[in-house]
């Protein structure tokens, strides 16, 4: 018997007398809108920076977030102008290692956890783009902010690769004291586009 068949047979034997329907309770949570202020606060908790701006201020906010004289890469389909940025034309890892910063958008953001999720399509780019450069500037629209993790899961397409980012890379491996900045980008700037006064998402003009 192949390993496959043997394992499957062993599984069947193991549960043969135990099979029963299991009632899985649904996640019984009220639908809540993503709290943009909470998102901003929670991102800041991870010692990432958050800048809020109206749609017309995005270009300036990005420029301000980028280090001076930075070499910057942007993915295909980036909807915001990033002057001087190099478009990603299949840059090698080594080339990206020599690049200071990357600017992208995101697919969804999570208020409760201060997380941004990229699914690496247009505006977000290949996974390596947001991994190797040391600075990641991510533009998030207020209407992309959802309440909590379950709502984010439901908005994402499992066929796409996704990267969930909650602050800059960090480790607690040394005496469980948290150190920010290990292998991923050590600096994360979130540019949050939308009104700052808690107006419901979608009201952004």
């Amino acid at each position: 018997m192949s390993a496959r068949d043997e394992i499957l047979a062993a599984v069947r034997g193991a549960v043969a007398t135990a099979r029963r329907p299991v009632e899985v309770p649904p996640l019984d949570r009220p639908e809540r809108e993503g709290d943009v202020d909470l998102f901003a606060a929670r991102v800041a908790d991870y010692r990432a920076t958050v800048v809020r701006c109206p749609p017309e201020g995005v270009a300036a906010a990005i420029a301000a977030a980028l280090p001076e004289r930075a070499t910057v890469v942007v993915p295909d389909g980036m909807p915001y102008a990033v002057p001087g940025a190099v478009p990603d034309a299949g840059l090698s890892s080594a080339e990206l290692d020599a690049t200071t910063a990357v600017v992208t958008t995101a697919t969804v953001a999570i208020a409760t956890t201060g997380t941004i999720v990229l699914s690496h399509g247009a505006g977000e780019g290949r996974r390596v783009l947001t991994l190797v450069p040391d600075v990641h500037v991510c533009v998030v629209r207020a209407d992309q902010v959802v309440d909590d993790v379950p709502a984010a899961v439901r908005r994402l397409d499992p066929a796409r690769p996704t990267t969930w980012i909650s602050g800059p890379s960090a480790t607690s491996d040394i005496e469980l004291s948290r150190v920010e900045g290990v292998h991923g980008p050590r600096t994360l700037h979130v540019v949050l586009v939308g009104p700052a006064d808690g107006t419901p998402p979608g009201a952004v003009s």
Partner: protein
């Protein structure tokens, strides 16, 4: 760099040595106290924590009871998404798949994401025997690997090391296997993390083959999930051309949607964060993005044995968060090495016997007894594994496995107790004897003038034989002259 847990002594012996290591005790007490407080704070933030636990446990139970169907689905989805699926019955088979992939690409090194499954199968040792170096890239794993040490925690394998020890290891060992530690390295954790970043970056950038595990495997979308903090996982999952993931067959989640509860429970339970810094999900091959050759090894290695265990089956719900280790008063004092396995702590005390079976070796048989059954683990477990009940059941299995041989003194004592406790009358007689013994001890201790009293009763200072295990460190009162039962009878329940 090939130390394994093979030949570890039984828990009580290993624990005795660990308990005497004051540095270890201090490191562990500090680390577990820190993480407990963090976990408690973020768990308290969610008002439906118990509902989340119940949902997670039910999802996993459902998966386990229909695991064959889910595995077949997972295989189909993975294959449809361009991944190559392998099945491994044993540790050797799993390691050999990875070795074959490495050989096929002519590489002599692979980069690894921290993964319990690959540790369990001793992949690094298997690869080393074929001249292939497996570089651990998680900071704690790097510390363990460079220090030729053994992991002592699921999540933070170097939890037993403090910053000064880590600095010494980096200074001594990094140069041997790659970029040396900076000359001016201090024991500031920021500087130590920086040293690891520089040391590993060259390995990430040149590696052709990456090796990972997975926290979850989604059956209907063929998605694997890796939850991490440092970004070394993303590096290994993204930069190499080839990726091999070794995944225990119990890691299945039926659909993508069900990740909702697991991605909520896991970070809060493990690192005590609302969310871990990085989570990566991928489904087979994504053209133009990340590894273009993707292998998935579905690993049994004792899991079907555990699945057949009626009480112990629930251990396969485990999501390796390590909350049970962090809250365990035994683990806090002995650390992980005493458990003699890559799976230490309360989950290790049940998982190892379940995966390996009991009655074969003394070390494994000692694990179900490595607990005071205080229940802190059950309370913390995000998937509600009733670890104390499984421990008690495994103890019965250990005893049953030895019933045919020559009975140990403990078994004889239990039989004698069973006989005495089988009837109130027989017990009364036994108590009378102990009352007599008490009087004798009483008289004796007053003769030696070493006798001490507390609350009006004499104390037994030292007992010989097995009783010494008690009186080595604890006093014991001399049995009273009259048992409760005798008092009740004499006084008619205190009315005379």
């Amino acid at each position: 760099m090939s130390r394994t847990f093979v030949g570890m002594p039984p828990f009580p012996t290993a624990a005795r040595a660990a308990l005497a290591d004051t540095q270890l005790r201090a490191n562990l007490a500090h680390a577990t106290t820190t993480i407990r407080a963090k976990r408690a704070a973020v768990v308290a933030e969610l008002d439906d924590w118990e509902a989340l636990r119940l949902r997670a446990a039910a999802i996993k139970d459902d998966v386990l009871l229909h695991l064959d169907e889910h595995l077949v689905r997972l295989e189909e989805s993975l294959t449809a998404r361009g991944a190559v699926v392998h099945w491994a019955r044993t540790a050797e088979e799993a390691s050999e798949v990875v070795a074959q992939v490495a050989r096929a690409h002519g590489v002599d090194e692979v980069v690894k994401v921290k993964s319990m499954a690959t540790q369990e199968v001793e992949l690094n040792e298997h690869l080393a025997a074929q001249g292939i170096s497996a570089w651990e890239t998680d900071l704690a794993e790097l510390i363990v690997q460079l220090g030729d040490d053994l992991p002592s925690h699921i999540l933070v394998p170097a939890i037993h090391r403090n910053r000064a020890e880590i600095r010494a290891i980096f200074e001594r060992e990094m140069a041997r296997v790659g970029r040396p530690a900076p000359a001016d390295l201090t024991d500031d954790p920021v500087r130590l993390a920086e040293a690891a970043r520089l040391h590993l970056r060259e390995k990430f950038l040149r590696a052709k083959v990456g090796v990972s595990g997975a926290n979850f495997a989604v059956a209907d979308s063929g998605t694997l999930v890796v939850v991490e903090s440092e970004g070394n996982g993303r590096m290994c999952l993204t930069l190499p051309e080839v990726l091999v993931s070794v995944v225990g067959i119990e890691k299945v989640v039926p659909t993508w949607t069900e990740l909702d509860v697991f991605l909520t429970l896991l970070p809060r339970s493990s690192t005590g964060e609302r969310m871990n810094p990085y989570t990566s999900t991928w489904s087979g091959v994504t053209p133009g993005d990340g590894p273009q050759e993707v292998h998935v090894v579905l690993l049994d290695n004792g899991r079907t044995r555990a699945l057949a265990d009626e009480v112990g089956r629930q251990a396969l719900r485990c999501i390796r968060c390590s909350a049970c280790l962090n809250v365990c008063p035994v683990y806090e004092r002995t650390g992980g090495h005493a458990y003699g396995s890559v799976y230490p702590g309360p989950i290790g005390a049940i998982l190892n016997p379940l995966l390996k079976g009991v009655g074969h070796d003394e070390q494994t048989d000692s694990l179900p007894y490595a607990s005071s059954l205080c229940g802190a683990c059950f309370e913390a477990c995000p998937v509600r594994i009733d670890i104390p009940s499984v421990l008690v059941d495994l103890r019965a299995q250990v005893v049953d496995a030895h019933r045919s041989g020559v009975p140990k003194p403990e078994a004889l004592a239990m039989r004698a107790a069973a006989a005495a406790f089988g009837s109130g009358g027989r017990l009364a007689a036994a108590e009378q004897a102990s009352g007599l013994a008490g009087r004798a001890l009483d008289a004796l201790s007053s003769l030696t003038r070493r006798g001490r009293r507390a609350g009006g009763r004499r104390l037994v200072g030292r007992l010989p034989g097995p009783g010494a295990a008690w009186t080595d460190a604890r006093d014991l009162p001399v049995p009273p002259r009259e048992s409760f039962r005798a008092w009740w009878k004499r006084t008619d329940g205190g009315t005379r």
